[in-house]
Subunit: 405 residues, 4 copies
Amino acid sequence: MSESIKRVVLAYSGGLDTSVILKWLQATYGCEVVTFTADLGQGEELEPARAKAELMGIAPNHIYIDDLREEFVRDFVFPMMRANARYEGDYLLGTSIARPLISKRLVEIAKETGADAVAHGATGKGNDQVRFELSCYALNPDIKVIAPWREWDLTSRTALIDFAEKNQIPVPKDKRGESPFSTDANLLHTSSEGKVLEDPWEETPDYVYSRTVNPEDAPDAPEYITIDFERGDGVALNGQTMSPATLLAALNDLGRKHGIGRLDLVENRFVGMKSRGMYETPGGEIYARAHRGIESITLDRGAAHLKDELMPKYAELIYNGFWFAPEREMLQAAIDHSQAKVSGTVRLKLYKGSAHVVGRKSPHSLYSERHVTFEDDAGAYDQKDAAGFIKLNALRLKLLARRDR
Amino acid sequence: MSESIKRVVLAYSGGLDTSVILKWLQATYGCEVVTFTADLGQGEELEPARAKAELMGIAPNHIYIDDLREEFVRDFVFPMMRANARYEGDYLLGTSIARPLISKRLVEIAKETGADAVAHGATGKGNDQVRFELSCYALNPDIKVIAPWREWDLTSRTALIDFAEKNQIPVPKDKRGESPFSTDANLLHTSSEGKVLEDPWEETPDYVYSRTVNPEDAPDAPEYITIDFERGDGVALNGQTMSPATLLAALNDLGRKHGIGRLDLVENRFVGMKSRGMYETPGGEIYARAHRGIESITLDRGAAHLKDELMPKYAELIYNGFWFAPEREMLQAAIDHSQAKVSGTVRLKLYKGSAHVVGRKSPHSLYSERHVTFEDDAGAYDQKDAAGFIKLNALRLKLLARRDR
Amino acid sequence: MSESIKRVVLAYSGGLDTSVILKWLQATYGCEVVTFTADLGQGEELEPARAKAELMGIAPNHIYIDDLREEFVRDFVFPMMRANARYEGDYLLGTSIARPLISKRLVEIAKETGADAVAHGATGKGNDQVRFELSCYALNPDIKVIAPWREWDLTSRTALIDFAEKNQIPVPKDKRGESPFSTDANLLHTSSEGKVLEDPWEETPDYVYSRTVNPEDAPDAPEYITIDFERGDGVALNGQTMSPATLLAALNDLGRKHGIGRLDLVENRFVGMKSRGMYETPGGEIYARAHRGIESITLDRGAAHLKDELMPKYAELIYNGFWFAPEREMLQAAIDHSQAKVSGTVRLKLYKGSAHVVGRKSPHSLYSERHVTFEDDAGAYDQKDAAGFIKLNALRLKLLARRDR
Amino acid sequence: MSESIKRVVLAYSGGLDTSVILKWLQATYGCEVVTFTADLGQGEELEPARAKAELMGIAPNHIYIDDLREEFVRDFVFPMMRANARYEGDYLLGTSIARPLISKRLVEIAKETGADAVAHGATGKGNDQVRFELSCYALNPDIKVIAPWREWDLTSRTALIDFAEKNQIPVPKDKRGESPFSTDANLLHTSSEGKVLEDPWEETPDYVYSRTVNPEDAPDAPEYITIDFERGDGVALNGQTMSPATLLAALNDLGRKHGIGRLDLVENRFVGMKSRGMYETPGGEIYARAHRGIESITLDRGAAHLKDELMPKYAELIYNGFWFAPEREMLQAAIDHSQAKVSGTVRLKLYKGSAHVVGRKSPHSLYSERHVTFEDDAGAYDQKDAAGFIKLNALRLKLLARRDR
């Protein structure tokens, strides 16, 4: 807190916590605050954030409200999906992938407004602080980052509400008690953690889920859909061309209806402890399966296996906040190189919590019925070749066996 | 065919194809045949195979019928499951993992009976020939392996049936026409490929599935179960201790009932082409998810991430037939080392095609509610540490950004 | 040999073996032969090959003699060097990297001349057959490849020489006896294997080396040189700008003089056995060390470590002949992405068999004396940050230790 | 500094810096100090450290002086060498590998003496603080670690010497001026960094080297030696059986004489900046080359390549201080599994800075002259097998080429 700050860009949701941070920044640093509120498809009205910022004395030209949905899906979600990234086998990285984009805008707005610092509302125990700060530093090594949760003494809910009331920040009634869990949302997913979720033996209560119906309440009849891909990215749903964000939103509607994309996970945070989270990634889960489906007929084995080997590291980098690191970019270059012919159509069946690929076709298909058929293959494949193939693959094993017997 | 063979051990199912092979071996090589029929939980009576072998003149002491179910699950399936192995992201390797065990017994029986060769019924287009032969050569570098499908001229169904009839091999009525697809089954899974499955755009017809009900016909109410693990392996279902094979069989029953473990996949064969397969791994799918669940609270992050990075290579090795290769054994040593504390209980919800982990607990849990809580943590974690952690993780990115701006 | 071939492009050195192949192709396939002789810097006159081909009846417009030195170094050697590729820890892949280029020209010439096949002089035991053929098939899947050494019955030296004499092919006197070893040479290296080298316990006799002086005979005074790099590739020696091939040739002269780049290796061939080879890569060894030197100050740690992790697979792909495979191209995309700022100057000391980096500087250096100094760093680095960094890195280990004690 | 400490075990060299730390600990924490001085083969007398500790009031039973040389080489250096570990391609990790052992003893002595803390003399800019602390926390999660360099205000040489003089700590004359560089030494290596080495463009002055003669001053005649290995570890030099530490010491003598193992490197520290170091690893360099030599004939290709792929991560773990982390132990399990037959003899030529393998033999050799020979191989290898091997390896590339043309 000893540093002198003149102007700070705050990642501002309009909610109680970031409103308290806004006041606290003004009070503590005696600095001007610029608010930045991003529409990443979290499904909330953003204009109330503007009104609230104005109420707290922020100059209109220092209130930024940006619709980043298309950029989010096009430049962050889709590139990540090209990698089939899942952290620790399952998590589709919905929160992780939003942080670099927010950071990018924070740094850009800092430049536009001549601010010397940015601030975020992430706590000192989580991954998000790391993601925000690594991204900001990578984009502007001289920026200062303020993380109020690591600095202030408002360490209890009561202290926070007291501060709010003392500073004329409206406190919604439902925020007065302890919230049962904390959430993050964007077009890709909603996550929840903490409170009722903290015992990993207890099943996540159904009321925690907000983006999907309970599979038991989903339609009794399956629904079939198609997704078209061009060069590794989704471009159409059921034959209808859509922009990236529109496509993901439409898949979210389908996923919600069929109860798809719920995940209950104990994961390893970058800061060293395990946490239990609940994720809902309805459209993302469908999309991820579809992407693997179209790759299955258009990617060569060598490319596919290399991607599978690189994926855990790639996912870890995004989870840990290294989106703007050279090694992530190198891996992206490799992955993107593989997607040139990942085009075609995947058919999926959605039913009570599941999305399964049931068909795939492509003008660039590598699947050769002639080669694989049990029937006459008209000489496409000479079975005798397999004898030599096996013999030479076995040679080292034979030499080994001779030595070791 | 030029080699002189005295006695050959044939992997014999008792079905039409391997019966034809039996006769063909006798006719072509003028050699004695020893039959080996393994019970791997494929769900067929084995005594008819004995009768048939006797009918074809095999001496009783040259007819081997072994129940390998416990060895199969204990020494092959479970070690593989410790690695969370899935080939190309999805396939649980049900066929691949059975081949090394069959090969091991073929080589053992060859030694016991003084045979100089073994024979199998895999075709020249598939992976199984490779798996059988690499395993056999690794276990006995001097064994000869006969693969009739790569040698003979019975390349059409008609030719095969003609040969059968000329040689008094009974041909079941349903084998006279072209079978609509070919299958392989064992305690872990049933796979089907070929014929009606050869167009990857067409949905797999429901009649192809034999081990699971259609999820749409599964019970409308979810079922909750628990699986207990000890040192990485399942030991009990719903609190009842079971042997490995018994446990897997019981999970198969549950998976069948709830329509769990169906997979429709286009995969890359080791011999170079893509094939489309349908897999049913009911118990295996439940078990695999449960194993990841228990690992999520008992494995350290470093161990877990290393396992995830090694897995694709491990799965590829098994798929390609390198179970008995030093690099698979090295990876197994690493994986097994990680499982010492992978003990505890996982609770799963089974419902209409899905198995989801909903709870996990362990006497060896690394999950620390104290560390992760949003509430007062009594000093377990000092949020200020995060500042230094981020600063040093960011240092190289800052230096990079300073250089590159 | 059953296939009908009309015209074949032969990789033709002008030597005895490929001259025999030329005749054998004419005799066996009754086909036209197009000869292709590449100057890859092997240090032999190529015009005698033209004369010899003409003598054997090849039409002048069917005799191709190409100087590929610049393309070889620019498009094959340098990209590989960007990866710091060494097979099995040591081998700089001098033979492996030449094969894809020769194959590319074979396929191009086949297209230009309307040939339906290509032929090479590699034996059935080595890696080169694989490299030639995989490359050719990847570039033209319909090309036929003839590998006479796998087909003919000239399996002894005597038979070969008999065939030559019967066909009026001149046999140099020194080829009449058994050659003591076989060699391959190009601008990057000379390799030798076989014969006197076949016992891996026996030291390689000095007469086997042809590209370097014995270090014991090298100058008693060290020589210092500088190499300049731009974007990962060498561009100047001692401040003098040079083309890729010119630079490598100049480094070869220096390496020869100082006895640098000798390697005696037992390696694992792709076809399954071990072989013992002797390599001389004088300029390549110097270049490889220099490249690592310039990377050491211009590459970020994340990029550098990712490159190190990917390298063994990349080297294996080149060794095994998969230059034109998608996974090699993906890795290359990642590697090339990392080289944008790998520019600057490296100073090396050459002395009696060794090349050591002794200095490196760059306008893009990431080395920060301010950060690393033991002296006052003017606040560049706050040592207290290290406490938090260590604490959070230790957290998972502490939780583990608490559990396991 | 706010924590209450009763007794602290200090890693004590007897030199000026750790003597100042000793006093500072007493003064700052008012705690008892236990000194621990390890003989890791650094080549210094240890009894003076005892005398000095006594002089500073340490009770005799609180002065620990341990000869750890055999444990160091047997349990740390050799296991690491089994992995062929080199950080960033070159560094043999001589400092990194000593830290876990020192930490282990610190924690053990803390337990024996009832100390609640340990202290070390590593600065806040380097890797050693991380290595010490991660190791200590992994072995005793409740231990407190004091790092005076991160806490105190003795941030200049002058301040340090003032403190020493005020506290009756003898200051050797040569410590009064700025030392030109800082060093660390043990049986494996000596490292130097800082001061005159801080400009990476300047050649390391010869006076910085202390463990090796300048190669230019080494004998003009090469020397040949043999090293015998058993199960991956060195056991004899020139046929004479030696303990691990004795063997390494003898190799150090040879390396010193021939000027072997000098390395000038710019490396990436875990804490985020680049540093330039000079390393001398005379015996280690010879040993490392010999180990690769014996592996080259005794390790199967699959094992060897897997080791090469795992090595960079393994080396990074040791460099970063994660010796006692589960993922290092998992990798060690894999590596150790591979070494069962890594036994035999390697012959090396030492000459003016270089150690080259010139011969290797083993009762467990996998090298088969029969298979590799250009001469008649008596049917060991059927060259025609290569055709099928290549065809099936090419199949996917052909399918790809057909699609993409």
